[in-house]
């Protein structure tokens, strides 16, 4: 998949911008110039979701009546599509794909985007929820049945939480929701563990290509139950009643990232963490490409500032197969052959 053109209006600090993308694109500008906003606009234009906020109402430029993105995209089968998304301060986002109304959730599977932001180091060192979200977002886009399973499980969990927080909850009802939660948790954890198996080799390879060193990467999925989630759910009931939460299930799982046999979270250096984090993202791009059959677009926000010259050069080589849109505060000499947009004060000042 390739983004060919993008039009942006009333988006963050961008009044209006017109961009024509090549395979490799670099957005350059001082802090606050609007380069990340352009990168964000690409993500919103293709997937209807931002990597900076869940609340798309935040995107509206101050003083503007509406925001709008229009992207033209070439897919692997040589078909060209036009995606137009717009919203006003009063009206929610409306999505038109080739002039037909579609649901915003449909876009993520048809036009895959993988984003790397500096905060992604939390994939390695952050809370378990970030790692679960990482796996789930790959699964949900790869397999519609897992997407449905995940949303179903989230709903069961919400019902159970409401039940244990109510006065005098009905125990038979709780039994039923526990059974549902247990069977959904087993299916989800199996799907996640299976995905981790695929990812392990891919991430190890990318990590090696970025660092230039051979390092062993190992993922271990951690379930929040021992043998059977249902019996653990029942055993933890009195605790759950006290805390008003559900302590066993797919939403309490995690995975451990080991680098050369040691947990990366507590032993890896800053440089190792950064390389691992980006390898996790690029690795997910490869898995998505295999599953969807469409190579994702890579958005790399502020990555090169943190890398030394040789690492940056290796990263550029490693992502060679993907269309890339990167942001940086200054020109990078190893990216001479990239298509460069200079951005300042929400405007494109040169191309």
């Amino acid at each position: 998949m390739n983004v060919v053109t993008l039009q942006v209006e009333g988006f963050r600090n961008i009044e209006a911008a017109d961009l024509l993308f090549q395979t490799r694109n670099l957005l350059v500008g001082p802090n606050g110039a609007g380069k990340t906003s352009i990168a964000e606009a690409v993500a919103v234009a293709l997937n209807g979701r931002s990597f900076r906020t869940f609340d798309l109402a935040m995107l509206l430029r101050r003083g503007a009546d509406y925001w709008r993105t229009v992207a033209t995209v070439n897919q692997e089968d040589n078909s060209t599509h036009r995606i137009a998304i717009s919203a006003t301060s009063q009206q929610r986002e409306r999505v038109k794909l080739d002039d037909r109304n579609v649901r915003i959730t449909q876009l993520a599977t048809d036009f895959p985007v993988v984003t790397f932001i500096p905060e992604d180091r939390d994939l390695v060192v952050g809370l378990p929820g970030i790692r679960r979200e990482y796996l789930d977002s790959i699964l949900a886009r790869s397999d519609p049945s897992v997407y449905r399973l995940l949303s179903r499980a989230a709903k069961i969990l919400k019902q159970r939480r409401n039940l244990i927080r109510s006065n005098n909850p009905d125990i038979v009802t709780l039994d039923i929701f526990d059974e549902e939660l247990a069977s959904a948790s087993i299916l989800i954890s199996d799907a996640r563990e299976n995905l981790l198996g695929y990812l392990q080799g891919v991430v190890e390879e990318f990590n090696q290509r970025i660092t230039g060193r051979s390092e062993e990467v190992c993922f271990r999925y951690l379930r929040s139950w021992k043998n059977d989630p249902l019996s653990d759910l029942k055993a933890s009931r009195s605790y759950d009643f006290r805390t008003g939460s559900t302590s066993v299930g797919f939403h309490r799982d995690d995975f451990i990232i080991e680098l050369n046999g040691l947990p990366a979270k507590s032993t890896a250096s800053q440089g190792q963490i950064r390389s691992l984090a980006i390898a996790l993202r690029v690795g997910s791009a490869q898995v998505l490409q295999n599953n969807i059959g469409e190579p994702p677009l890579l958005i790399l926000d502020d990555v090169f500032a943190e890398f030394d010259r040789s690492r940056a050069a290796r990263l550029v080589t490693a992502i060679g197969q993907y269309q890339t849109i990167a942001t940086n505060t200054e020109h990078v000499d190893i990216m001479d052959d990239w298509s460069v947009y200079e951005i300042s004060g929400g405007r494109i000042v040169s191309h």
Binding site: P144, S145, Q159, R161, L163, D170, V172, T173, F177, E180
Partner: protein, 198 residues
């Protein structure tokens, strides 16, 4: 902007389900234009419906009598009870005209999120109807949502001691539907519930 009585009408109308401020305005202006006679008829119909409609004492469907038309009909099969969520589900079955048994309206589904537990549903009344030998089968016809399924499971556990047959409405491919458009979950349910042709 509008006279006070007209604004009041719009305000009342916009509280109705599916009616937004724009529709409320359209209906209100239409009523005013048609004059007092039409308004009188509508007002009387509203009042009469609200005053005369009550719940059937057996099945909790809507009725003007103590006993609804279905429960009072001796020609219906009194050995089968179809358990549904809301009165509108009864209407859905009756439109189909293929079910000849009786109904039992629960008045909702178990949903802790909305504060609805088993005690809010007409469950004790259902158990009462199963006493004696008249009823041989209970059909659980709640929706196939998480809440509907949970309610069906709950009912199955609750009714089991009564010793009647319990069945669940089938889930699967819609009639006239293309297999291509059926999602995997529905399709795998349809597979589970397949029947022999020969």
């Amino acid at each position: 902007m509008y006279p006070a009585s007209l604004s009041k009408l719009m305000d009342e109308l916009s509280r109705l389900p599916g009616i937004g401020p724009k529709s409320a305005q359209r209906i209100a202006l239409f009523m005013v234009k048609r004059g007092p006679q039409d308004a009188q008829r509508l007002a009387e119909a509203l009042l009469a419906a609200a005053a005369n409609t009550k719940r059937c004492r057996e099945c909790f469907s809507l009725s003007e009598e103590d006993l609804c038309g279905v429960c009072a009909n001796a020609g219906r099969d009194h050995s089968v009870i179809c358990v549904v969520e809301e009165p509108r589900d009864v209407l859905a079955f009756e439109r189909g005209m293929s079910f000849r048994g009786l109904y039992h309206v629960l008045g909702g589904v178990i949903s802790p999120m909305d504060g609805i537990g088993p005690e809010q549903l007409h469950l004790g009344e259902l158990l009462n109807r199963l006493r004696g030998d008249t009823v041989k089968e209970v059909i659980l016809a709640t929706s196939s949502t998480i809440e509907g399924e949970a309610t069906a499971t709950y009912l199955a556990k609750l009714i089991a001691p009564a010793g009647v047959n319990i069945s669940r409405l089938a889930t699967g491919v819609p009639v006239g539907g293309d297999l291509d458009y059926v999602d995997e979950v529905t399709l795998s349910r349809a597979l589970d519930g397949r029947y022999r042709v020969t």
